[in-house]
C-alpha cells in the first residue's frame, strides 16, 4: 500500500493507505482524529469539512493520497494553544450554536473559512456560505448568531 504524508494541525504525520482511502477515513481511522464526522456519502452534509492548505474542503470528497504534502487543519486544531476554545468555538458555545454536536466540527471549519475571506458577513452571506453544511438540530438560527458574534469579535 502507498504511504501518504501530510501536516495535520501542525504535526507531521504519515501512514499507509489504500488508493481508495478517503481523507476523512485517514483522519478518523489512521490518525484517530474522530472530530471529523461522516454524515453522508454524497458530499452534501459538510460534517467532514476540514481545511486543506487553508481552504475548506469536504474530506469525504478527497482521497488521502491527494492530500500528500498538504497542510491539513481539523476541528482538533481549532482551540487556542492553551487548550481554551478559539473565538469561533467560544461563540458557538455562547450563542447555543450546537445541540447534538455532530455537524458542529464542519460548521466551525466552514465558519472559519468564511471569516478568513469576509470579516463582516451579512446574515444572508452567512446563510449562503453554509449551504454545504446541513444541521438538523438548530434550524441554523443560533449558528448564524454565533458566526455573527465571532465576526464581531475577530473584527
Amino acid at each position: 500500500m502507498p504511504t501518504v504524508s501530510m501536516t495535520v494541525n501542525g504535526k507531521t504525520v504519515s501512514g499507509e493507505v489504500e488508493g481508495r482511502t478517503l481523507l476523512s477515513q485517514f483522519l478518523r481511522e489512521g490518525l484517530s482524529l474522530t472530530g471529523t464526522h461522516i454524515g453522508c456519502d454524497t458530499a452534501q452534509c459538510g460534517a467532514c469539512t476540514v481545511h486543506v492548505d487553508g481552504v475548506a474542503v469536504k474530506s469525504c470528497n478527497m482521497l488521502a493520497l491527494e492530500a500528500d504534502g498538504a497542510e491539513v487543519r481539523t476541528i482538533e486544531g481549532m482551540a487556542n494553544p492553551d487548550g481554551s476554545l478559539g473565538v469561533i468555538q467560544a461563540a458557538f458555545q455562547e450563542h447555543h450554536g450546537l445541540q447534538c454536536g455532530f455537524c458542529t466540527p464542519g460548521m466551525v471549519m466552514a465558519a472559519a473559512d468564511l471569516l478568513a475571506a469576509n470579516s463582516a458577513p451579512s446574515e444572508a452571506e452567512i446563510r449562503a456560505h453554509l449551504d454545504g453544511n446541513i444541521c438538523r438540530c438548530t434550524g441554523y438560527h443560533n449558528i448564524v448568531k454565533s458566526i455573527q458574534a465571532a465576526a464581531a469579535q475577530l473584527g
Partner: protein, 789 residues
C-alpha cells in the same frame, strides 16, 4: 434581572466544549481491539421471493470471517413491536414476524438479506459483491388505497390482507358525530396528505456488538435514544439474553428525532454475530443505507370534516385517515396514528363530538414510525387546516374563529371527548402574545409592499396542543403499550458533597448535562459545577425509558426531583443528629442546615462527610451513605400549547415560496433553561418548515426510493430559512409534576407546518387556491395557481 444560575437561568452548555473540540465520543468513534466489520447486503427490489443465496465465492474472498443468512437465525425471535392496537371490532392488529434477516421473501428495498463479516469494512463490501442472490420479483404494493383493494398483492402471505387494523375512536361517538355533521349549518371538508418524511439525524446509526465469553456478557454500543428499551426488547424478545448479561451503551448520539427510539435488526445482528464469531462486530450506516433502513415518518392520507353552527361554533369533527405502516411494524408504529393522533383531535377547542377512523396499511416500503411529534403533527395539521378553510368559507377572521372555540382558562381541568384531560392552559393569552409580537395588525402594509415587488404575501395562523411527557403506565398499558412509561433517577451524593445523577433520560442534543444539574443544584443550594449527569449506559443506571415525546424534563426531571427530595430528607436527619436537634426543627436552605430559633448550623459538606465517615452518626436509626433512587410515573400527560404565525411571499411567476417570518408563541409551563428551550423550538421550526416546504420521501410504483440521498431529499439548509421569533413567556405550569414543566422538544415541528401552508393558501386565496399538499415546492404551487385560473 434574569437569573444567573439554577432553574430559569441559561448557563452555557457544558457538553459543548467536547463537541466543539472534536472530543465527543459518538458510537462510530468507538473501536474495540480485534473488531470485525459487517456489511449488509440489502434488497434492491421492493417485493420478491428469495429463490437462492450463493455465498460460496464470497466466503473465499480475502478477510471474510463469516457470512450470515436467515438460516443462521432459526429459533431467534423477530424484531418486536412494542404497542398493540385493538381495532374497532375488538380484534388485535395484524402483526407479522419481522425477521432479523429476510426469510424467504423480501418486502422493501433496503431489507437485509445477507450479512458479511470481515476483517475490514472494505473486505466485507468487496465480498458482498460476490454474493449471488436470486430473487423472483413480485408486484409491489406502494399506494395505501390500492393496497386495500380486493385482489391486491399481499405484503404478508400469512395475513388476511394488507390492513393492519381499522381503528375507531371514540367508537361510541360514531353515530352521534355523523348526525351532528348531517344537521350542521356548515360543514367544511378537506382532503390532504401528510407527507412521508425521513428523520435524518446527522449522525447515521451505528451498532457495535461485543461478547465476553469468560463471563457470557454481551455489550451493544448503539446510537439510541433509549438504551434500556433496546436492552429489554432485544434481550427478552429477540436474542433471549437476560438483562444482567446484556449491557447497552448509547454514548454521545448525534440527533434522534424519534428514529433512534426503535430497536433495529442491525443491533440484534451485531450482538448475535459478536458471539457467533467471537469478535466484536461493528456496523456503521452509510447515509444511503439510512435512507432505506431508518424508520420513516408521517405518511397519512386524510379526509377531515368540521361541522359548525351558524355562529361558527364547532359542533363535530370527523376524520378518516390511511396510515402507512411500511412492510413491518416498527417498535412504536401502531401507537402513532392512533393514541398519539386521535386523542389530539379536539385541539385547543371545545368541540363536543369527535370521531377518528384510522386504517393502518402494510406496503412494500420501509417501516414507518414516530418522527418528531409523532401523530400530533398529523392531528394538528389537518385540524388547523380545516379550521382555516372554514374561516375562509364563512368569512370569519381565522383568529376570531379560533377564539370563539377556545377552551377558556376557567374550564381547566378540561376533559375532551377524545379521552384526555388537559390540566391547564390559556390559549387566548398565547394568541394575544402572537398578535403582538408577530405584528399581525401590520400585515396589510407588508402585503402591499410585497405586491409592489410583484410578490403575493400571505399570513398563516394556527394553534396547537400536544400531549407530552408520556405518560401514566397504567393508562398506556390499557391503550396497548407493552412497556411502562415511567423514568428513574439515582442521586448519588459523594462524601465531599459532589453529586452524580444517574438518569434514564438520554441526551442526544437536548443539553441534559447542563439543565438537569440546574434543578438539583437549586434544590440543594449548591453550585451547579458540583453536579454531573450520567446517562446512556444500562450498566450504570437502574432503568430508563429514554428520551422521546418531549418527556425528559417532565418525567426524567421529576424522577430526579423525587430522588433529591429523598436525599434532603435523609440529610436533614443526619444534620439533626450533628446539631443535637429534633429533625422537625431542622431547616435547609442555600446548602446549609439550621435549627429554627438557634444559631446552630451545619454545612452541606459536613452532612455528606458524616454520611460516609459516620463516626458521629445515628447508626441505630439510619444507614450510612447518601444515595437515593426514585421512579416517577406521571399522573397525566403534559399539554404544551401555543399559537404560531407565518408570513410568506409567493412568486406567482415561478411558484417559489419564501418564508419571510415564523413566530412561535409556546406555553411550556415552567422553563428550566430558556436558551436551550429557544434552541429546541428553533430546531422544531426548521423541521416543520422542511416538511411544509421542502421534504418529501418519494417511492415509484415499483417501490424504488427516488429520494434516497441528499441530492434528492431536500433537507432544509441555512439559506432556506429565516431567523425565527420565539416566545415562551405565557406560562401555565403543569399541575401534576413537581417542576410544573410541560416539555418543548416537538412543539416547533407540530406548530409550524399548518401556519406555513395556511400562509401560502392565504397568499393565493384571491387566485382561488384552497389547498396545496406538502411540500409546497415551486412546481406544486405554480400548478395550483394555474389550475385555479
Amino acid at each position: 434581572m434574569p437569573k444567573d444560575h439554577g432553574i430559569g437561568a441559561s448557563p452555557k452548555r457544558r457538553e459543548d466544549v467536547r463537541f466543539l473540540t472534536g472530543n465527543g465520543q459518538y458510537t462510530d468513534d468507538i473501536n474495540i481491539h480485534g473488531q470485525s466489520h459487517v456489511h449488509f447486503l440489502r434488497s434492491d427490489v421492493a417485493h420478491g421471493t428469495i429463490r437462492s443465496i450463493d455465498t460460496s465465492a464470497a466466503e473465499a474472498m480475502p478477510g471474510v470471517i463469516r457470512i450470515f443468512t436467515s438460516a443462521d437465525f432459526e429459533g431467534v425471535g423477530g424484531v418486536p413491536c412494542g404497542w398493540q392496537v385493538t381495532d374497532r371490532f375488538g380484534e388485535p392488529m395484524q402483526e407479522p414476524k419481522h425477521p432479523i434477516l429476510a426469510e424467504g421473501k423480501v418486502r422493501y428495498v433496503g431489507e437485509i438479506i445477507v450479512a458479511v463479516v470481515a476483517e475490514t469494512l472494505e473486505q466485507a463490501r468487496d465480498a458482498a459483491e460476490a454474493v449471488v442472490v436470486d430473487i423472483d420479483e413480485l408486484p409491489a404494493v406502494i399506494d395505501m388505497k390500492a393496497a386495500l383493494e380486493d385482489g391486491a398483492t399481499k405484503v404478508h402471505d400469512d395475513l388476511p390482507g394488507n390492513l393492519c387494523f381499522d381503528w375507531g375512536f371514540v367508537e361510541e361517538n360514531r353515530d352521534a358525530v355523523d348526525a351532528a355533521i348531517k344537521g350542521a349549518a356548515h360543514v367544511t371538508t378537506l382532503e390532504l396528505r401528510n407527507n412521508r418524511l425521513i428523520a435524518n439525524p446527522m449522525e447515521p446509526r451505528v451498532a457495535i456488538g461485543d461478547y465476553n465469553a469468560s463471563n457470557e456478557e454481551h455489550t451493544l454500543y448503539t446510537t439510541s435514544q433509549n438504551p434500556h428499551v433496546i436492552r429489554l426488547l432485544m434481550g427478552a424478545f429477540v436474542l433471549g439474553i437476560p438483562e444482567h448479561k446484556l449491557r447497552v451503551v448509547a454514548p454521545d448520539v448525534g440527533g434522534g428525532f424519534g428514529t433512534k427510539i426503535f430497536h433495529y435488526a442491525e443491533e440484534a445482528f451485531c450482538t448475535f454475530a459478536a458471539k457467533a464469531v467471537n469478535r466484536p462486530v461493528k456496523w456503521t450506516s452509510t447515509r444511503a443505507e439510512a435512507f432505506i433502513s431508518d424508520a420513516h415518518g408521517r405518511d397519512h392520507v386524510t379526509r377531515i370534516e368540521l361541522a359548525l353552527d351558524k355562529d361558527g361554533k364547532f359542533l363535530a369533527v370527523r376524520t378518516d385517515t390511511y396510515a402507512n405502516m411500511g412492510a413491518y411494524l416498527s417498535t412504536f408504529a401502531p401507537s402513532v396514528p392512533t393514541w398519539l393522533h386521535g386523542t389530539l383531535m379536539a385541539g385547543n377547542y371545545t368541540t363536543p363530538l369527535v370521531y377518528v377512523n384510522v386504517k393502518a396499511v402494510f406496503t412494500n416500503t420501509v417501516p414507518v414510525d414516530a418522527y418528531r411529534g409523532a401523530g400530533r403533527p398529523e392531528a394538528t395539521f389537518q385540524l388547523e387546516r380545516v379550521i382555516d378553510k372554514a374561516a375562509r368559507e364563512l368569512g370569519i377572521d381565522p383568529i376570531e374563529l379560533r377564539r370563539r372555540n377556545f377552551i377558556k382558562p376557567d374550564q381547566f381541568p378540561y376533559a375532551t371527548p377524545v379521552a384526555l384531560e388537559y390540566d391547564t392552559g390559556n390559549y387566548d393569552a398565547t394568541m394575544d402574545k402572537l398578535v403582538e409580537i408577530a405584528d399581525i395588525r401590520g400585515f396589510g402594509k407588508r402585503k402591499a409592499e410585497s405586491a409592489e415587488r410583484g410578490k403575493l404575501r400571505g399570513l398563516g395562523i394556527n394553534c396547537y396542543i400536544e400531549a407530552c411527557g408520556i405518560a401514566p403506565s397504567n393508562l398506556v398499558g390499557q391503550l396497548g403499550a407493552r412497556a411502562g412509561l415511567y423514568e428513574s433517577a439515582t442521586v448519588r451524593v459523594n462524601a465531599t458533597g459532589s453529586i452524580s445523577v444517574f438518569t434514564g433520560s438520554h441526551s442526544h442534543g437536548q443539553g441534559h448535562e447542563t439543565t438537569f444539574p440546574q434543578v438539583v443544584a437549586e434544590m440543594l443550594g449548591i453550585d451547579e459545577s458540583q453536579v454531573d449527569i450520567v446517562h446512556g449506559d444500562t450498566s450504570k443506571i437502574p432503568m430508563g425509558m429514554g428520551t422521546y415525546g418531549s418527556r425528559s424534563i417532565a418525567v426524567g426531571g421529576s424522577a430526579m426531583v423525587r430522588a433529591t427530595e429523598k436525599i434532603i430528607a435523609k440529610a436533614k436527619k443526619i444534620a439533626a443528629h450533628l446539631m443535637e436537634a429534633g429533625e422537625e426543627d431542622v431547616e435547609f436552605a442555600d446548602g446549609t442546615f439550621t435549627v429554627a430559633g438557634t444559631d446552630k448550623s451545619v454545612a452541606w459538606g459536613d452532612v455528606t462527610l458524616a454520611a460516609y465517615v459516620p463516626h458521629n452518626y445515628p447508626l441505630e436509626d439510619l444507614e450510612p451513605g447518601l444515595e437515593e433512587t426514585a421512579f416517577y410515573d406521571p399522573a397525566n400527560f403534559t399539554y404544551p400549547a401555543g399559537a404560531y404565525a407565518c408570513e410568506v411571499e409567493v412568486d406567482p411567476e415561478t411558484g417559489k415560496v419564501d418564508v419571510m417570518s415564523m413566530t412561535a408563541v409556546d406555553d411550556f409551563g415552567n422553563v428550566i433553561n430558556p436558551m436551550i428551550v429557544d434552541g429546541q423550538v428553533h430546531g422544531g421550526l426548521a423541521q416543520g418548515i422542511g416538511q411544509a416546504l421542502l421534504e418529501a420521501c418519494v417511492y415509484d410504483d415499483d417501490g424504488q426510493l427516488l429520494s434516497g440521498s441528499y441530492m434528492d431529499y431536500a433537507m432544509p439548509r441555512a439559506d432556506d430559512l429565516p431567523s425565527f421569533t420565539v416566545d415562551h413567556s405565557c406560562q401555565t405550569p403543569c399541575t401534576h409534576n413537581p417542576l410544573g414543566v410541560k416539555g418543548c422538544g416537538e412543539a416547533g415541528a407540530i406548530g409550524s407546518p399548518p401556519s406555513l401552508v395556511n400562509a401560502v393558501v392565504d397568499a393565493l386565496s384571491e387566485a382561488g387556491v384552497t389547498h396545496i399538499d406538502m411540500p409546497l415546492s415551486p412546481s406544486r404551487v405554480w400548478s395550483a395557481i394555474q389550475a385555479a385560473r
